[in-house]
């Protein structure tokens, strides 16, 4: 089967999307962008390829008379087994590196008790990983190993730390080790992992059903997933190991991606980590005009990230808190760093945290609205993409300001909005592939 791949190398995360020949999404992958863009692209692509493989498996399951009824459940369970296996491989790697680090001269004085505690913590983490946990299946793919491991490790390290081996000593080892785990790509051995996962399910099924499952798994593994064309986009696109003709600007990709998600789209606003784009597209998703923030990042996701750091909150917590606001507070939107000063000033003056946060969200969106005006305004329909589209307070402020300035507009936000750029890139890959065949 032919697959068309789009990779969006953003400043914060790297996304990959696989499409089939009809333009249907087969798989998606996401990872942290890191110093090595090649590696980030590879990991996102591998993850998308795995998720495409599972999509193909689901198609095979649904095509099998005996298993069709249970296709979704089986797919979910297979994914759960597969991911557990994957996490264990990574955990094994983390253990290896952690013990190497525990031999460093820096920690020589506490080497013995340090290794002892590390072993206890890592054993406990492994035991937790092995425990079946179907409930959080759906979330797993979008969760980074780093985040899961960090939260488990720090919780256990807190329990194990004492006056000999301090919490900081343990976390120091973890930080060094996780960086190396993240920066090495390991062979997923998809086929074997899937076979193992299937084998684990078979005993609980009837003999005939078990046989069917093994057969379907083999059939789906026989499908050759041929990545015929890849197009790269995003902030780091110049660093992607692609030829020039395989690179598209993120403006075009966001325009086309948003059009694919919502065909009625005429205006797109994308607020990412460090840039904001206002894009106008025609009825075919072709960009007709665009504007980007130039000399300043005050209207971007980083602004909210900075505020979250200042308040010792997670960035995802900001929106829900701001939504509690009851009083309008005006905050200048000209500078991220000044906003931090203003925030502290107002907190000292006794203003409520939720009101200040709501004002800050409005400040970010005011910049975006100015950019939209520069690009030609807000037409019906209006699609909001990028990480900030997941922030409910930002969405509220946007809705309000767009209504004030342009009247009623349909505001679209896709649950997969973070993949919009990669989706657009994959659509370009599909078109480029078609053109090449036509030319041949």
């Amino acid at each position: 089967m032919k697959a068309f791949v789009g990779i969006d190398l953003g400043s914060t995360t790297t996304k990959a999307v696989f499409l089939d020949e009809s333009g249907q999404v087969l798989g998606r992958g996401i990872t942290n962008s890191r110093s090595s863009y090649d590696l980030a692209a590879k990991i996102a692509r591998d993850e998308a390829r795995v998720s495409a493989r599972f999509a193909l498996l689901e198609r095979s399951l649904k095509a099998d008379e005996g298993l069709a009824a249970e296709a979704e459940r089986l797919r979910s369970e297979l994914i759960a087994h597969f991911h557990r296996h994957q996490q264990l491989v990574q955990l094994g790697r983390l253990r290896e590196i952690a013990f190497v680090e525990a031999h460093a001269p820096r920690v020589a004085a506490i080497a013995e008790p340090l290794r002892e505690r590390l072993a206890v913590i890592l054993d406990a983490m492994e035991a937790e990983e092995k425990r079946p946990r179907l409930g959080i299946l759906a979330k797993q793919t979008s969760e980074f190993f780093r985040d899961r491991a960090a939260s488990a490790f720090s919780r256990l390290a807190e329990e194990r730390a004492d006056s000999t081996v301090k919490f900081g000593d343990l976390m120091g080892i973890f930080d060094k080790a996780i960086l190396q785990v993240e920066n090495t790509s390991f062979e997923l051995k998809f086929d074997d992992s899937l076979r193992e996962a299937a084998a684990e399910l078979v005993p609980a099924m009837g003999a005939e059903q078990g046989q069917r499952l093994i057969r379907v798994v083999e059939t789906s593994l026989d499908i050759d997933l041929d990545e015929v064309r890849t197009i790269g986009t995003g902030y780091g696109r110049q660093r992607l190991p692609f030829a020039k003709e395989d690179i598209r600007s993120e403006i075009l990709c966001h325009g086309l991606g948003a059009h694919a998600q919502f065909p009625g789209t005429r205006t797109v606003l994308d607020i990412g980590g460090q840039d904001t784009k206002a894009i106008q597209v025609d009825e075919n998703g072709i960009v007709t005009s665009f504007q980007m923030n130039d000399r300043c990042a005050a209207g971007c996701g980083r602004y909210l990230g900075y505020i979250a750091d200042e308040m010792s909150l997670g960035v995802h917590e900001l929106g829900p808190i701001a939504q509690q606001s009851t009083r309008h507070v005006h905050i200048a939107s000209t500078c991220t760093v000044f906003a931090g000063a203003e925030l502290r000033d107002r907190l000292t003056a006794g203003q409520r945290r939720e009101d200040i946060l709501a004002g800050l969200h409005r400040a970010v969106i005011l910049r975006a609205v100015a950019l939209l005006a520069r690009s030609g305004g807000v037409e019906e329909q209006f699609t909001f993409t990028g990480g900030v589209a997941n922030n409910p307070a930002a969405v509220d402020a946007l809705q309000e300001l767009v209504h004030e300035n342009y009247g009623a507009r349909t505001l679209n936000i896709s649950p997969g909005s973070i993949y919009t750029g990669a989706l657009g890139a994959a659509l370009f890959a599909l078109r480029a592939g078609e053109e090449r065949w036509e030319a041949a």
């Binding site: 600007s249 075009l252 007709t288 665009f290 130039d294």
Partner: protein, 428 residues
């Protein structure tokens, strides 16, 4: 891109002209020649020549300082002296250069002015600029007020108003500083030479209507306008330079060659653009490269009309020398109102078969930047061609973010490609 950059004869000639001029300026204290400082738009070069005066153009010094990577130093110097970050960066580069010894682009010291001639007022900053220089140099200023074409036309009373000022204020001031009596025949002689150079310049700029264009009308264009915007309009040397340049360009056109860039010949013209706004000077080569490495040629630009708009028919006229100087001053591009500018852009897009309009909005210059978005929207509406918008500065390196500019330019060119591709019209 192929081949090595070839220095054409006209380039050698231009270099000589400019070097000789700076040398002449550096010797002014010995030779006793009088020096005036004035601005590029609305400059009265032929008139100065009639009084044997040597002109200095602070704007040109500023942009050349930037091309030699000196402007950051000069701007810092001016900011230390109390000029705020938001002040026009040409002004600060000039003031900084002055304060650091007034060594000009050729490496030789520039003489102080004997007179400041403020002959163009379409840029309000010019007035403040010379107010500052008057204080720095303790020298007189003579002002020629140029009425703005707010209604999009030059009326007989506007011309009379300007000629009257020339007769009663500018000419007496020039007589006084030079000790030479006004001789209208000398002025007429220079005017005839100007006209010849202007006609050849127009032929050079309009060669870009040809496919492929033998010139780049923006990055290359700024070199072509050098002598005519500088101290040489109305001289036999300038007339000869433009004859030579025209010959070279017509030869390139006959051979079907593209423009010469710093990295060689641009052999594969893929995009034809109209550009509005001045270029960035601190990263001029890098900026140009962002265009030529994508096969983008600027076929027409408005910046090359700031020191005189000749391709709409204006020529200096020896039969009516002062009246035509008045027309010249009022006709400069930034003295045109917004509807006139839009009309010109639309005409360029049509006459030069352009793929679109790119606006380079500079932080420093409100004479240019004010209204540019409006112009862009109107242009898009009238022509149906895609518009692009980038932001840089003239000579302040702090406002040139290469990664961002490159990203915008690439995105813009891809947008043009996408609009062109027939398969792109298919449903996604």
């Amino acid at each position: 891109m192929s081949g090595k950059a070839v220095k054409e004869q006209s380039m050698v000639k231009q270099k000589e002209l400019i070097q000789d001029h700076y040398h002449e300026l550096s010797r002014a204290p010995e030779t006793g020649r009088k020096v005036i400082y004035t601005f590029v738009p609305g400059n009265l070069t032929e008139l100065f020549r009639a009084f044997d005066l040597l002109p200095v153009y602070p704007e040109i010094n500023a942009l050349q300082s930037a091309m030699r990577q000196k402007s950051t130093l000069f701007i810092n110097e001016a900011e230390r002296a109390g000029h705020a970050e938001d002040v026009c960066t040409y002004v600060k580069t000039d003031i900084g250069m002055l304060r650091r010894g007034n060594v000009g682009p050729s490496g030789e010291k520039l003489p102080p002015p004997d007179l400041l001639v403020l002959s163009y007022t379409g840029c309000f900053t010019f007035m403040k600029w010379f107010e500052l220089l008057r204080q720095e140099y303790d020298c007189p200023v003579v002002m020629l007020h140029t009425p703005y074409q707010g209604d999009g036309k030059i009326t007989p009373s506007m011309v009379r108003y300007m000629v009257e000022q020339m007769r009663t204020e500018v000419i007496p001031a020039l007589e006084k500083v030079s000790g030479i009596k006004y001789d209208e025949d000398r002025l007429k002689e220079a005017m005839a030479l100007s006209e010849s150079a202007e006609t050849d310049l127009v032929a050079v700029l309009e060669s870009a209507k040809h496919r492929p264009s033998p010139i780049d009308g923006y990055f290359g264009g700024v070199y072509y306008i050098g002598p005519i915007f500088n101290a040489f309009r109305g001289t036999p040397e300038a007339a000869e330079y433009y004859r030579m340049l025209r010959g070279e360009v017509e030869e390139r056109m006959a051979q079907g060659l593209g423009p010469v860039t710093p990295d060689g010949l641009l052999a594969n013209e893929k995009f034809r653009l109209v550009v509005e706004g001045p270029p960035n000077w601190t990263s001029f080569r890098e900026f140009w490269k962002m265009f030529h490495e994508e096969g983008a040629v600027v076929v027409a630009s408005t910046y090359t009309k700031v020191g005189g708009l000749y391709d709409t028919g204006f020529r200096h006229d020896k039969e009516h020398p002062l009246e035509s100087l008045a027309h010249y001053c009022m006709g400069c591009y930034t003295n045109n109102n917004l509807p006139q500018r839009i009309d010109l852009l639309e005409r360029y897009a049509r006459d030069y078969s352009a793929d679109g309009l790119l606006v380079n909005s500079v932080k420093s210059c409100n004479s240019f930047s004010a209204g540019q978005l409006l112009m862009l929207r109107e242009f898009e509406k009238r022509t149906g061609l895609p518009g692009g918008f980038i932001e840089t500065d003239l000579v302040d390196a702090r406002y040139f973010s290469a990664a961002n500019v490159k990203n915008r330019i690439e995105s813009y060119l891809q947008m043009i490609t996408q609009k062109r591709a027939p398969s792109a019209r298919a449903e996604a």
